[in-house]
């Protein structure tokens, strides 16, 4: 069963289940956003948040909603989508569920860059994370390129470099004074504390800029699940394609890391959860993006709900995502899959 869309310049086909799941997930995102806007140390009533959003309400209420919660929520959604996309891309390309950027260490480049930036400039984490990620990407791809880009070599070299950079981060952490170290440690767990509209602009304009490339690459990516021989004989050029995917995946991960910190588990879990919802052997990039966004939003909202302890969002991503994944595993096992 599939539905087709045919326009003069565009033709696509969808499966009804994917469309239904997509609508369900979008509904969840909307519900979650509303809940996240309302809940917190200052709770809004069922209707007041809307009137404040439309311009009514006191100065304080407007400040809470517009300057604190909204940018934070939008950053969470954007960063989560980036994590989800990046994870699903790497997992599909490598045909390995463990090959997400947080597991194979592409995130540690961004983290290391951010730490160096904190030490050198005291602030400007963003620039540091971005340049750290790009530097790592160039280093890894440059070292892995040898008559083309072979996935296994890419992953292993990524691992080697990633672990070395993570160790470098530890080294830096142990060499600085206690206050900077505390700053760094919080950043390393991942937090969305004090996000402003600048972060929103960065992550969403980045996503928007990369969106055409993501749409374009989705088509060949769906065919990379076949073995190398087959996808090559279907006319795909594997090495340039893998290069493009790696670049895109690392850019997305860098966007997410520099706005939300290296939140654990999101990039790893989003893809498998999305595929479990629509098990049709396709990469489910869109699904992974929405699941990632939902996970980060839920984690951040949870971290705001307990203001007295101030747990960073990075603690909650696995606390929420882990049980979801375990539940899906049990469901699939009962159905006789896996």
């Amino acid at each position: 069963m599939s539905w087709s869309l045919r326009l003069p310049f565009l033709s696509l086909s969808f499966s009804p289940r994917a469309v239904a799941v997509g609508f369900g997930l979008l509904l969840l995102v909307n519900l979650g956003t509303v809940l996240a806007l309302r809940l917190g140390s200052y709770a809004f009533t069922e209707t007041s948040w809307l009137s404040v959003l439309l311009g009514a309400g006191s100065e304080i209420e407007r400040m809470i909603l517009m300057d604190h919660r909204l940018p934070r929520i939008l950053t969470a959604l954007g960063a989560g989508a980036c994590f989800g996309l990046s994870g699903a891309m790497f997992q599909t390309m490598m045909r390995n569920p463990l090959a997400s950027p947080d597991v194979i260490g592409f995130n540690s480049g961004a983290s290391c860059g951010a730490l160096i930036a904190i030490i050198l400039t005291g602030g400007n984490v963003l620039l540091g994370a971005l340049s750290g990620a790009l530097f790592t990407a160039i280093l890894v791809v440059g070292l892995a390129w040898k008559n083309g880009l072979q996935p296994q070599r890419l992953v292993l070299i990524g691992l080697g470099i990633g672990f070395a950079l993570a160790a470098l981060s530890d080294l830096l952490l142990s060499r600085t004074d206690a206050r900077t170290a505390a700053d760094m440690a919080e950043w390393l767990i991942g937090t969305l504390n004090a996000r402003d509209w600048q972060d929103v602009t960065i992550v969403w304009s980045g996503l928007l800029l990369l969106a055409p490339a993501i749409f374009w690459i989705h088509f060949p990516l769906a065919r990379l699940g076949l073995s190398d021989d087959l996808s090559s004989s279907l006319g795909l050029r594997l090495s340039p394609l893998r290069l493009g995917l790696t670049g895109l995946g690392i850019l997305l991960a860098a966007l997410a890391v520099c706005t939300a910190g290296p939140l654990p588990f999101v990039a790893f879990a989003a893809g498998p959860i999305a595929r479990a919802l629509v098990p049709n052997g396709k990469p489910a990039l869109l699904g992974a993006a929405v699941i990632g966004a939902l996970l980060v939003l839920a984690a951040d909202t949870a971290s705001r709900m307990v203001p007295s302890i101030q747990l960073p969002a990075g603690v909650f991503t696995a606390l929420i995502g882990g049980p979801v994944m375990i539940w899906l595993l049990m469901v699939q096992f009962r159905k006789g899959k896996l």
Binding site: N96, L98, V103, G160, F163, A164, D170, L171, A318, L329
Partner: protein, 343 residues
């Protein structure tokens, strides 16, 4: 035994190259061990080292340092590196996934959570008692992962997803407890960063049975895994009981990693990376792969421990961190030189 014959015979040249590598690695391991006894904050002459073994004198500071600190530390590095690398090779072969890490079974996550709960709920702060708590935590979480992962009957994918989800969950739980309780953090940090510091002979002796049992189970598993590399069906037709074989290999990993984590805290990297280095020398045969992993893992840990004592790194850098700092570039170099091998 038919299973032995399933390993493809190597050409003579390849086999002799392997033996030469084995000798070279063994020699450098001995050299590193000797250096590790000799150097540190206080260099000790070869003569004193020798004396401390043959004519121990408790009044001499040099002898105390060697027998009370450096030797246990050296042995701990040996055991930790060898155990982690061996279990890494086992889990990668078991899940048929080159990115699998022994931590995937939830041992590190469970052990950390166990220690944190112990501090948080019971208020225990004596590192010596953490050994058994960590062991228990690792064991419980591995059992959970095993059953959630299909109890030996599921696909490797299922085991991987179950393990990754549970370990992330445990680590996050532990971390949130630490953020809530400053006191727990202070005690825990000492444990988790401890690495190979302050390990004493009685601890080693108490854990030795686990290492020994783990090594024996790993040796048995290497035969089984050689057959299982050919696929579950072929292995079954060779007379192997898949569920039992998987269970044995998992037991080996639990013994080795549980003992390591309770001795030296969670150490990443060695278990994931060293098997890839070992495969460059050993080829596809699991028995050789395990042997090389053991030796290379031990070597890497001793080297890391030794360089961690250099003044550049403040004189006392964690061995796990140094292992990643040294091993990462080494892996890149090996892969660029030899090309990557499939599992």
């Amino acid at each position: 035994m038919t299973i032995l014959e399933t390993a493809p015979p190597l050409s003579d040249r390849r086999a002799s190259a392997r033996q030469i590598w084995l000798m070279a690695i063994l020699l450098s391991l001995l050299l590193l061990s000797a250096l590790s006894l000799r150097f540190g904050l206080r260099p000790i002459s070869w003569h004193s080292i020798w004396d401390s073994f043959v004519a121990y004198d408790a009044t001499k500071a040099d002898h105390l340092v060697i027998q009370g600190m450096r030797l246990p530390r050296l042995l701990a590095a040996w055991l930790a590196g060898a155990a982690l690398a061996t279990s890494g090779a086992l889990i990668q072969s078991l899940t048929r996934n080159p990115l699998a890490d022994p931590g995937l079974l939830g041992i590190n996550g469970g052990a950390s959570l166990g220690v944190i709960l112990c501090i948080f709920l019971l208020g225990i702060s004596d590192p010596a008692s953490f050994v058994w708590v960590a062991m228990g935590g690792g064991l419980i979480s591995t059992v959970l992962v095993f059953f959630l992962g299909g109890a030996g009957r599921g696909t490797p994918l299922r085991l991987i997803l179950a393990g990754a989800a549970l370990s992330a969950l445990f680590l996050a739980l532990g971390r949130s407890l630490l953020l809530i309780s400053q006191r727990s953090l202070d005690v825990y940090r000492f444990w988790v960063l401890g690495g190979l510091d302050g390990i004493e002979m009685p601890t080693l002796a108490a854990l030795l049975p686990f290492f020994a049992l783990g090594a024996a189970l790993a040796a048995v598993s290497s035969f089984n895994l050689n057959a299982m590399m050919l696929g579950a069906d072929t292995a079954r037709s060779l007379g192997l009981r898949i569920g039992l074989a998987r269970g044995l290999a998992l037991c080996a990993i639990v013994c080795l990693c549980g003992a390591t984590v309770s001795m030296a805290g969670p150490i990443a990297f060695v278990g994931l990376i060293v098997p890839h280095m070992a495969r460059r020398f050993s080829g596809a045969d699991m028995r050789w792969c395990l042997l090389f992993s053991t030796l290379l893992g031990a070597g890497l840990m001793i080297l890391a421990d030794l360089t961690g004592r250099l003044p550049v790194f403040g004189g006392n850098m964690q061995a796990g961190v140094m292992a990643a700092l040294i091993g990462g570039p080494a892996l890149v170099w090996l892969i660029r030189r030899n090309g990557s091998t499939a599992l």
